[in-house]
């Protein structure tokens, strides 16, 4: 299996690599053996507790955030949870540890990953200016407005053992 690291191939081109590599079909689903061996590796890492600090990519209201425990993220505009609420971020697009990354297609299963967060602050933004000027038309608008903001603190990211007949894409 050739390296699929983008930075690797790019730098190696600069360093005098010639030739056109044949595009390799890298879809783990197509290779059942690879799939099982990779998920076995990840399972043993999780069992031994050698996954290090886990990170996840969560999807909240149209924005993707890369989070790790103890992080703060800001959600813009209206967000129903109140301060002090403990919530679970359901839409997890990817999760990773020291030597593995799991990517969903597009989301990871709810039974595999659990990302918990606490709402710590609900506030308003600084004054923002909305200024429109059209010349020669005597048109001018000047507005100051403030948007709502919600701060979330990530409490924990947990990954369960992968089922052997895994549907998501796994990559190590």
């Amino acid at each position: 299996m050739k390296s699929t690291h983008l930075a690797d191939t790019k730098t190696s081109r600069y360093l005098g690599v010639a030739g056109i590599e044949e595009a390799e079909d890298f879809t783990p689903l197509s290779d059942k053996d690879l799939q099982t061996s990779v998920s076995n590796d990840i399972n043993t890492t999780l069992e031994k507790g050698e996954m290090g600090r886990l990170f996840a990519i969560v999807y909240i209201r149209g924005m993707q955030y890369k989070v790790t425990p103890e992080d703060i993220i800001v959600v813009k505009n209206d967000f129903p949870p109140n301060v002090g609420d403990k919530i679970r971020l359901e839409k997890v697009m990817a999760v990773g540890g020291r030597d593995f990354s799991l990517f969903g297609q597009p989301l990871l299963s709810r039974s595999v990953v659990k990302v918990e967060a606490t709402v710590v602050e609900k506030t308003l933004t600084h004054n923002r200016v909305w200024y429109v000027f059209t010349r020669k038309k005597n048109t001018k608008t000047f507005h100051l407005y403030r948007e709502r903001q919600t701060m979330l603190v990530i409490n924990s990211i947990q990954v369960a053992q992968l089922p052997q007949e895994e549907e998501e894409g796994g990559k190590e």
């Binding site: 924005m63 800001v74 709402v119």
Partner: protein
């Protein structure tokens, strides 16, 4: 005002709130109003109808009422980080006063400035930050340059020249076979 004169800052979490447990950051709120003036009418209504509910819901916030003669109504919020904010509420009706009080309750007390990023992390990388030596062979440290090994062009697949030559071969072979047919 130019853009860089506007103060900006990163997102902050006062005393890592919410990591252990959540603590409401508003410690004290003072409602200041006039007992007789019309300007404080809505504030008086708020105190009469809504304040008790607020105090029952938030036992951790100390509420004070401070009547001041012939002065506009205002709210003073004091936060756990030591900051104190005064908000004038003259001309604000009861629902709006409720909203501003709720705004003070849900805040962390950090001064509101423009935000540089919408997230903050203490550990930016788990799998390691890229550096120029990450994929480099450590044998390079011991070799003297120019070296033949590391100056060589690595051929990983077919080059453009190979492709052209192949095409030429194909064409020439087909031509030769054609001529053979014609000759026959």
């Amino acid at each position: 005002m130019s853009n860089n004169a506007i103060p900006r800052d990163f997102v902050k979490n006062v005393l890592q709130n919410g990591v252990g447990r959540y603590v409401c950051q508003l410690k004290r709120i003072t409602f200041r109003f006039c007992k007789s003036h019309g300007g404080s009418r809505h504030m008086r209504d708020f105190i009469e109808n809504n304040l008790l509910e607020f105090t029952q819901k938030n036992p951790g916030v100390v509420c004070y009422l401070q009547p001041r003669r012939h002065r506009p109504p205002s709210v003073v919020a004091e936060f756990l980080n030591g900051r104190r904010e005064v908000m004038l509420l003259s001309g604000k009706e009861v629902p709006e006063i409720c909203k501003w009080v709720e705004h003070m309750r849900t805040r962390s007390g950090v001064q509101i400035v423009n935000m540089i990023q919408n997230n903050h992390t203490e550990t930016p990388s788990t799998q390691g930050i890229w550096h120029p030596f990450m994929f480099r062979d450590s044998e390079m440290a011991a070799t003297e340059f120019p070296s033949k090994k590391f100056s060589q062009i690595q051929v990983t697949g077919k080059t453009a020249t190979d492709l052209v030559l192949e095409e030429q071969l194909k064409v020439s072979s087909s031509e030769s076979s054609d001529s053979h047919i014609e000759g026959k």
